[in-house]
């Protein structure tokens, strides 16, 4: 198991701590106890030796006392003086018995044995040994010593027999046998051995030591060595003090006092063993305790770790129960559970927010695509994706306020959802754009679904007292015909929607090839951006003259943008201007046109050409305030007057929001610009609106003019339009005039201006100038009628 694990660390720490503490205690106690014990044992031994000596001295004094009593007995003295051996021996026996002596001797002053009693083996006539003791006894009035006699150890008291001067010496011997040695052992707690060293070798006379250890014990050192008594090692078993107890030459008897150190160290050994046992038990306890602790701690921690991993993986269900009595662990576990629940809720919320539109509760575009993809993968039957846009939703917001707008959005979402019985797949993407996935009923055509959607939506919405009528544009793509991925289908539905919007239809289906065309348009748009940015001559202005039929003068012209694409060559203005309008690039384009036209106008003015140039602007342009400011600034720069420019606005742009358009257009007229209604006749302008418009000119759409000589109805329309314009004090201009006949007709109808191929095609400025010069020379050569 790894050292980095918590359990192992606890175990290691505890074990080390306990080991260190136990070892410190063990070693400290051991050393001090060993030192103390050694000193104690040595002291005990010294004390015991003193006791032993004291015992010997006391015994000797007792023996002397009793011997003195004996020798001073008058009867004894009398018997000794009698010199009768038989009498003397009987007295020795008698008096010896009185004091319990084992050996009684009567010795002449010269050392000769006169009589003996006891287990002496001494025969009269021999001489007493040691001789020195005899002399000591006579000199000092007595002597005591240990004497070996007949292999027995005797403590002999030698006293002179005084009558009253010494007449003889009496020796009184007390045998020192094992019993006495045992008594000494009991009193002094020393093992006592009496050893005769006279012959130069050790001859043990009496010993309380066991035969088996006697040699070892007697050889033992007289000092107690310092020892720690490590277990399983050989220790000093004995210590022996050697004490000579005779000092006579040739008589060397030692008392050997032996202490069994094993016994002396018994307590120490027991203490040592106890410490060992305690240390070991503490260690085991510590190991078990920390193992328990670590299991109690590390186990739940490991469980919690698993829980944390599960949570990290997003698995909130697999929650083990943790059986721990530890309060902190329980608290931690509760915190984990609470954390898990919070994370779960938060994740659900975030996930909901990530996949849903917060306002309507519908899916968002991304999650719709995911689900569509999932449906496709799971082999779903055919379905359509409808991309639905609320037309002019901004107006709703502006008119009724954002609250109503939001309610409208929610209501639309609801309605869309109601279209599908189960698992409706509806999404809101962007402000007013919805997606709806609608399964195609078996056997039915996808084309029946579009009207269904519109039918569902067209009913006006009612909120309290408010009734809101919305119009929608719907683009539909269908699976599997229009694509096999959600991205493709959504994109193509979007293309269909764009188509619907740009063609102002309610419903468009995606048609094959449209995407390619769309992409092509996108590429073209990119190129247009580049052309505008670089201004490298790809874009240029052509001018088409307008002839005043009353004067025959060419006093106006229309500026028309042309784009010569590097690879596509001529690009239709309808195409790229339309693209620019859709993509918002129209602002830049118009600015470019204005700049270009004003420069041209200035150029011509310098050359003395006074001609009013008409610029086409869109509804979007009209709304841009800075456009007018920009125009004025540029005119000022070239010192031009407003009458050199005029603006043409299509009837459709003008009428889509007529009231607003009037206000905007009046800004232009206030600055002195002339405005024309372009493409008049194909829109749905009401006459009352037209009446309000601050325009000076009506331009009859060329579709009425191109076939003028063949079509009587066109003639009627044109005539009535001219009449109408004149009745509103407007000039009328016809474009698309291609024949002399048409020109003649228009002249007769009272048309004010014409424009068309009959007069001249749109031309680059240089050609236009040349053409103008030609016209001047022509009109000079052929004066106008």
């Amino acid at each position: 198991m790894g050292v980095n694990r918590l359990g192992s660390q606890i175990l290691l720490l505890t074990t080390l701590l306990v080991c260190a503490v136990s070892m410190t205690v063990l070693i400290t106690v051991w050393i001090s106890t060993a030192t103390y014990t050694q000193r104690q044992v040595s002291q005990d031994i010294n004390r015991a030796v003193k006791v032993f000596n004291q015992l010997l001295n006391e015994r000797q004094n007792q023996l002397i006392a009793s011997a003195e009593v004996l020798t001073s007995d008058f009867g004894f003295k009398q018997a000794v003086a009698s010199n009768d051996r038989g009498t003397i021996e009987s007295v020795l026996e008698n008096h010896g018995a009185r004091i319990d002596a084992d050996l009684m001797l009567l010795i002449g002053l010269d050392g000769e044995m006169k009589a003996a009693y006891g287990e002496s083996g001494i025969t009269p006539g021999t001489y007493f040994e040691p001789r020195q003791m005899l002399e000591d006894a006579l000199t000092n009035g007595g002597a005591a010593s240990f004497v070996v006699n007949n292999k027995q150890l005797y403590q002999i008291i030698l006293l002179p027999v005084r009558a009253p001067v010494p007449v003889a010496l009496t020796g009184i011997g007390f045998r020192l046998d094992l019993d006495l040695a045992q008594q000494l052992l009991q009193l002094s707690s020393l093992n006592v051995s009496f050893v005769d060293m006279s012959a130069g070798h050790r001859n043990v006379l009496v010993s309380t030591l066991n035969e088996s250890v006697r040699d070892e014990a007697l050889m033992a050192s007289d000092a107690v060595d310092m020892t720690f008594r490590l277990p399983f090692l050989k220790h000093q078993s004995f210590t022996s003090k050697h004490q000579p107890i005779t000092s006579y030459e040739g008589h060397r008897i030692e008392a050997v006092l032996t202490v069994n150190l094993e016994r002396a160290y018994e307590d120490f050994d027991r203490l040592r063993d106890t410490i060992f046992v305690i240390t070991l038990s503490t260690l085991i306890l510590a190991i078990f305790g920390s193992a328990f602790l670590s299991r109690n701690l590390a186990g739940p921690l490991a469980d919690l770790e698993r829980v944390a991993r599960d949570i990290a993986r997003g698995d909130y269900h697999n929650l083990p129960t943790i059986n721990s009595r530890t309060r902190e662990i329980k608290a931690l576990f509760r915190a984990f559970v609470s954390m898990r629940n919070d994370i779960k809720q938060r994740e659900q919320r975030i996930s909901y927010q990530a996949t849903h539109d917060h306002l309507t509760g519908l899916f968002n575009r991304t999650s719709l695509m995911e689900q569509v993809n999932a449906n496709i993968r799971s082999g779903h039957a055919s379905f359509v994706i409808a991309s639905i846009n609320i037309n002019g939703f901004r107006n709703v917001n502006d008119t009724f306020g954002p609250q109503v707008g939001d309610r409208c959005l929610c209501a639309v979402g609801e309605r869309l959802t109601q279209l599908v019985a189960d698992n409706p797949l509806t999404a809101r993407s962007g402000a007013d754009e919805f997606f709806l996935v609608l399964p195609v009923p078996p056997g039915a055509s996808p084309f029946v679904l579009g009207p269904q959607i519109l039918e569902q939506l067209c009913v006006p919405l009612e909120f309290e007292n408010l009734r809101v009528s919305l119009s929608f544009s719907v683009g539909i793509s269908s699976y599997p015909n229009d694509g096999d991925t959600a991205e493709k289908l959504v994109r193509r539905a979007g293309i269909a929607l764009d188509k619907a919007r740009s063609s102002r239809k309610e419903l468009c289906y995606y048609q094959e090839g449209e995407e390619e065309a769309h992409l092509d348009r996108l590429a073209l748009l990119d190129d247009l951006k580049m052309a505008l940015k670089n201004d490298d001559g790809q874009l240029c202005m052509y001018y088409q003259p307008k002839q005043n039929l009353k004067t025959g003068q060419i006093d106006k012209c229309e500026a028309l943008i042309r784009w010569i694409h590097p690879t596509r060559r001529f690009v239709s203005p309808e195409l790229f201007v339309g693209l620019a309008e859709q993509s918002g690039l129209i602002d830049q384009l118009t600015d470019w046109v204005i700049t270009s036209v004003i420069q041209q106008s200035a150029q011509w003015r310098q050359k003395g050409i006074h001609i009013q140039i008409a610029i086409n602007i869109s509804a979007q342009d009209l709304e841009r305030e800075e456009l007018l400011t920009n125009v004025c600034r540029q005119l000022e720069k070239y010192a031009l007057t407003p009458d050199c420019l005029s603006f043409e606005l299509t009837e459709r742009d003008m009428m889509s929001d007529a009231d607003k358009a009037v206000l905007l257009m009046e800004r232009f007229t206030r600055h002195g610009f002339h405005l024309s209604v372009d493409d008049y006749g194909i829109g749905h302008s009401s006459l009352s609106k037209l009446k309000q418009m601050p325009v000076r000119e009506l331009k009859i759409d060329k579709s009425f003019v191109l076939q003028l000589e063949q079509s009587e109805s066109d003639q009627i329309i044109v005539q009535s339009t001219i009449d109408l314009g004149h009745s509103f004090q407007l000039k009328v201009i016809a474009e698309g005039v291609e024949t002399e006949t048409a020109l003649t007709l228009l002249k007769h109808m009272g048309c004010d201006y014409i424009q068309g191929y009959h007069l001249a095609r749109p031309m680059p400025p240089e050609d236009f100038q040349l053409w103008l010069d030609q016209q001047v020379s022509l009109s000079e050569s052929r004066p106008t009628a």
Binding site: N53, I64, R162, P164, V165
Partner: protein, 222 residues
């Protein structure tokens, strides 16, 4: 003092000449209480009164008493306590059991030699009776000198001192020819008698049982 008085008393009857002796020990120190006896082939036995060995203050008085063979000694007790005088000496073992005052008959001493007297009750009491052959004896004074009045010449002298042997029985016999003479301060010739031992003064000899015990070997003492 006492010995001199007795010595002069013994020889008072005849015409005598004075013979002077000086007793010294091995270290040439004068020896007191040494007995000098003149030995001669012809000598008379004067009729002898019983001698007296008193016991005063738990001591024999005199310490050394010289008598002549056949003379008796009475042992009056001048102390208030009783004494038990005895002797185991070969010339005359005897015993006078516990008594006070003067016991009955004087004790006769028929053999020459030295009788050591003791008291069975008081172990330290020691007295000596020197039983001479001739009756011409002298006891040296504290200067080691003695004066013997004798009517005849002497062949040899017997010399005794209690410390000459342990049992007090040994007497030395010295030929007159071997004797050294020297002249004293007053011009008289003095025989110089030397003991072959070192005599200890009585003070040195004083001992009791406890002292004796201390002289025994002590165990455990260095």
């Amino acid at each position: 003092m006492m010995s001199r008085m007795f010595a002069s008393g013994i020889v008072a009857a005849e015409e005598t000449n004075s013979i002077r002796f000086l007793v010294v020990d091995q270290n040439n120190q004068p020896v007191e209480n040494a007995v000098v006896e003149l030995v001669s082939s012809d000598h008379s036995h004067p009729a002898l009164e019983p001698a007296r060995m008193d016991q005063i203050n738990k001591s024999f008085a005199p310490h050394v008493l010289t008598i002549t063979k056949g003379q008796s000694v009475s042992f009056p007790n001048s102390d208030q306590i009783r004494h038990h005088v005895y002797s185991f000496s070969p010339p005359k073992p005897f015993e006078i059991r516990l008594y006070a005052g003067t016991p009955g008959d004087p004790v006769p001493f028929d053999k020459t030699g030295v009788v050591v007297l003791g008291c069975n009750i008081h172990d330290h009491m020691v007295g000596y009776i020197y039983i001479g052959e001739t009756g011409y004896t002298g006891i040296s004074d504290q200067n080691g000198e003695t004066d013997i009045q004798a009517p005849m010449e002497f062949d040899s002298v017997r010399l005794w001192h209690e410390q000459l042997s342990l049992d007090g029985q040994t007497r030395l016999l010295l030929k007159k020819s071997q004797l050294k003479t020297e002249t004293s301060k007053d011009g008289q010739s003095i025989y110089r008698l030397q003991l072959p031992v070192v005599i200890k003064t009585p003070a040195q000899k004083t001992e009791n049982s406890k002292d004796v015990r201390n002289k025994f070997m002590k165990f455990g003492s260095p």
